[in-house]
Structure formats: C-alpha cells, structure tokens
C-alpha cells in the first residue's frame, strides 16, 4: 500500500480498448501464410530483377539491406510487439556470424542451407539462455542487462583468440554462384539472392507468427502485462518465446553477413551496431514489418549518403565516420520528441488500425 503514496511510475500508457468486434471470423492461418508467401515471392523476384540493373557494389548493399532487415524485424517482434527493450541484439548477430565462420572453417563440407539452419538453432539456444535469465526483468533493468551483453559478448573473440581469431576475427572463403551459372550471374549477385531468399523465408515465418496467437499474446502483454496474465496468457513463457525468435532472427542475420563478407570480426558487432538496429527500428516505425524494411534501407543508404556528403564537403575521415551516428541519434531524438502521444501510443494506435482492418 505504501507504493500508492510514492511518486508514481511513469504511466505505462493506458491503451484505449480496441474496438475488436468478434463477429468477424478469426483470420485463418492458411490464407495468411499464402498471402505472405506470395508477397515474399514477389519481393524475391523484384530483388533478382534489381540485381541485374545495378553494379557489384550496389548488389552488396542490396544484400546488406536484406540481412539488416531481418535483424531489425526480429527486434521489432521483441520491442514493438512485446515491449521488451533489448540493447544487445548485435550480440546475436555476433553469435550467428561466428557460428557460420566456425562451421565453414572446421566442417567445410556442410552445405550452406544446413549452416543457416544451424545458426538459427544456435541463436535460438542463446536466446533461450538470455531470455530465460532476463525474463523477470523490466524496462531499464532489461535494457541494462542486454547492454552488458552487447558490450561483453564480442570480447569472447578476444579471450578465446585461438579459436575465434582475436581482434582480427576469422577469415574464410564462401562459394559464390554455382559453376553452372558462371558468366550469367556474378558472385555478389548470387549471394544477394541467397540472402534475400533466406531473409524472406524467415520473414514469412515471422509475419505469420505475429499475425497469429503469439502476436496477439505479445501485444496483450505489451499493453498490460498484469491484465494479460489475468486473462490466462503465460506471460513469462511468451516473453521468452519472443526473445528466442528474435535471437534466432539476429543470429541468422549475422550468418548472412558472414556469408556475404567472408569474415567475422568482433569490431563489427559493437554497441553502436546494437544501438543502430534499435534506431533503425524506431525510425522505420515500431508497428509493422514494413518498418524493418524502411529501417534497414535507412541504415544502409543514409550511412552512405552521410559518407558521400562528408567526402563532398571535404570533411576529415573522423567527421565522415561519425556522420551516421550523429544522424541516427538526432533522428531518434526528433522522432521521440515530435511524437506527442509517445511511440508506444502511436504504436498501439497503429496496431489497432492494423487489426481493425
């Protein structure tokens, strides 16, 4: 009872009861899945077509947009749908990248598809460990713990430098386009296809899950955890599930990066990466998977634009290197300040609109 006399916690937004007339039949899983598959197929065809129109560097960027989108989409399930803040998503990309690198180096005969599946499994296992350990943590406590994860995990590469290659990381060779297609398709192009195929498959799974029971439960927990628990939703398990799926996505994204670049170095999974992913998510919009797309696009191309701008103005490299960081930080601040009902509120309203449709 003492708590009622204390300064109240900042109001966790009261979300207006959603007008959800239950007369409409629940969306059946198969049509949803089919829609998603069709959309994914279309997207893949679009990417394939696009890679024929652009040069090799641009193809790399297209691939990068793909896997960043997956990482952000995973984060979106966690932050956007379940309201848990993770500042450590880069750590799961680190896990995926190193799992890929180790498999390629020590078991070169394992096919790529198996590696991808393996990294998802490894990422999910890591997610179970971290998710279970942090399931009871809220808001700033969870943010603090995942922050420590983001800063601490890459240091493993330094500690186990015999196996993980120290600060130089691991270097390995990934096969590009199959020999039958030599001359028709470049390596970069092929890798972009593979990555987008992988990403789209994962996204279809993700989109279907968040449209289904898991998504509903997560949103219920985000909106009001206590009410969700009283409605019989297993809160702890659902939150851990979200954490695990999001970790799997992050790990797979890391695997895609390793596959694309042929390296895994600790410095590419810095705290800045984790924060950038979160920034991109907020920038793109927390509410939908489209947000992940816009966020990834922004991450790749705004960074590029910042660098080019700095070059154009003849700024020194230390300025140029930091342009994206400052830019994203500013964007975050502006978005939060200019969104008077709060991101959380905008997001609830958004999800309300989506659900009513």
């Amino acid at each position: 009872m003492t708590s009622s006399l204390r300064r109240d916690d900042p109001p966790t937004d009261v979300v207006a009861p959603k007008a959800a007339p239950s007369t409409r039949p629940r969306p059946r899983i198969r049509p949803v899945l089919l829609t998603h598959l069709a959309a994914a197929l279309l997207a893949l065809l679009g990417v394939v077509a696009l890679t024929f129109l652009v040069g090799p560097i641009e193809q790399l960027r297209i691939a990068k947009v793909g896997y960043l989108m997956l990482a952000i989409a995973g984060l979106q399930l966690l932050v956007g749908a379940s309201g848990q803040i993770s500042l450590g998503h880069g750590a799961f990309m680190f896990i995926g990248a190193y799992a890929t690198a180790l498999t390629v180096l020590h078991a070169p005969m394992v096919p790529l598809a198996a590696i991808m599946v393996l990294t998802v499994v490894v990422g999910c296992l890591a997610g179970i460990v971290v998710g279970a350990a942090t399931a009871r943590l809220h808001g700033p406590y969870l943010a603090g713990a995942t922050l420590a994860l983001a800063v601490g995990l890459p240091a493993l590469a330094l500690y186990f430098s015999d196996i993980l290659g120290g600060s130089n990381g691991l270097l390995f060779k990934m096969r590009g386009a199959p020999p039958e297609l030599a001359g028709l398709v470049t390596d970069n192009q092929w890798k972009a296809w593979v990555i987008w195929f992988t990403v789209l498959v994962a996204l279809v799974v993700l989109a279907t899950l968040s449209r289904g029971r898991l998504g509903r439960r997560l949103r219920a927990i985000r909106d009001d955890e206590a009410a969700a628990a009283m409605a019989g939703i297993p809160v702890g398990r659902t939150k851990v599930t979200a954490f695990v799926i999001s970790a799997g996505c992050g790990s797979l994204a890391g695997a895609c990066e390793a596959y694309l670049l042929g390296t895994a170095t600790p410095s590419s999974f810095s705290l800045a990466l984790s924060l950038s992913l979160l920034a991109a998510l907020v920038l793109g919009g927390l509410g939908s998977l489209w947000g992940a797309f816009w966020g990834a696009l922004a991450l790749v191309y705004l960074e590029l634009a910042g660098k080019e701008l700095a070059d154009l103005l003849g700024l020194s490299s230390s300025v140029a290197d930091n342009v994206p960081l400052v830019f994203f930080g500013t964007l975050l601040i502006v978005i939060v300040m200019a969104w008077p009902m709060g991101i959380h509120g905008a997001l609830s309203r958004l999800s309300g609109v989506v659900r009513r449709r």
């Binding site: 003492t2 009622s4 006399l5």
Partner: protein, 241 residues
Amino acid sequence: MSDTPILQIENLSTYYGAVQALRSVSLTVQPGEICAVLGANGSGKTTLLRTISGLQPAAPGSRILVNGEDITGAPAESMVRRGLAHVPEGGGVIVDLTVEENLRLGGLWRADRRDRAQALDEVYELFPPLVERRNQPAASLSGGERQMVAIGRALMARPAVLLLDEPSLGLAPLITQQIMRLLHDLRDRTGLTVVLVEQNAASALSITDHGFVLSQGAVVARGSSAELLADDRMRHAYLGF
C-alpha cells in the same frame, strides 16, 4: 474582519480532455468560516480543490481570488505563499521521509528560521502522538497519524485557507470525529478558514458553518449547515443519509 471574501470562485470550469469536470462553479468563503463541499463520488469535489490550488488547469473565463488577489493559473508551488494550503486526498504524506521531515517541508517556503521552529512546536502541540514518532519514516504511521502529519504539514505553512480533501477517508469514526473537533478548535483559536471536502456529509456538517453540494460538476445547493441538514430532499438526493 474586512468584507473581502477570503476565497472567491467565479464561473470555474475544468476539463479532463473533452470531459467537463466542473461546470461554472461559483462560491464564496468568508474569513474564519469552515465550509463543506459535499457530493457523491465523482461529483467534482476533489477536482474543485485541485483546480483552486493549481494542480489542475482552470478553463478560460474562470476566476479564483484569494483575499481579493486573482490567483487563476498561478502554479501550484506558489499557493503556500498566497496563504493557501491544500491537503490532498489521502494526505499526500511522503512515506520515504520521516515524520519531522514531512512537517518541516511544509514550512520551508518561509525564510524565518525561528518562526519555522516555532511552527513545528505548535504542530507537535496540536498532535502530541507525532512527537515520539518524529524520526520514524512516515511509512510506519497508522492512517490517523498520517492524516495528522498531512494536516500538520499544511499548518506549518501558516495558511489563511486550508483546503482539506476527505480527511476521514479510511479512518475510524472516532478518529474522524477527533480531527473534526480539532479543526473546529483551530478555527476558533486562530481564525483559520477551512474548506472541507467530504463524502461523509453528516460528520462534516456537524462542524461546518455552511456548505455547498456538488453534483456532476455543478453546485446544486448551498446554504448553512443547519439548512442543508434539515432539507430532507437534499439529504436523500445528494448526501445519502
């Protein structure tokens, strides 16, 4: 005593978003009066006090005067300087502070250190049970003691007007009675003006000079306490006894 009312409220309206909580409330309180604001749950009593003390913004066109000075729109933290002390619903005792710290907080706004010490002594005199608990955290107090701290803290400011929001909430009838008697004595001794918001109309009217009845944010009746008590229709419709 001058003719200026100590508290004068004209045409006061308040909104919570689109919901109007007070509808053109006007009322006047003379110095040294104890007046009751009565009404059912949600009739706007608490909102009235919160708007007077600046915790809730008043709609344009409203006027609140204390001793002839227009205080409409002034920030809540300036109210003690204008002679207005507000004991909010539940008392607003800060449980993380000790009893004495809570009390001292009420007098801090005044520069005179000696006067503050004297006010503290007076409050302890008024509420003897608080003396031996002075260094305990307020969280350890009983409901009645908390209400004492709340009122004591308000009195530390040496206000001209005391706004009191449901001091009887959650207290045993005997303690409520004690508090009511205390307010009455205080008024007689110091000339303090008290605006008392109460749901428990019978106990409030037993010590007040006159009262206002709020219903759905508007004043529906006003008169001396005796008149209000005597009016059966009023009692049944709004006061519930």
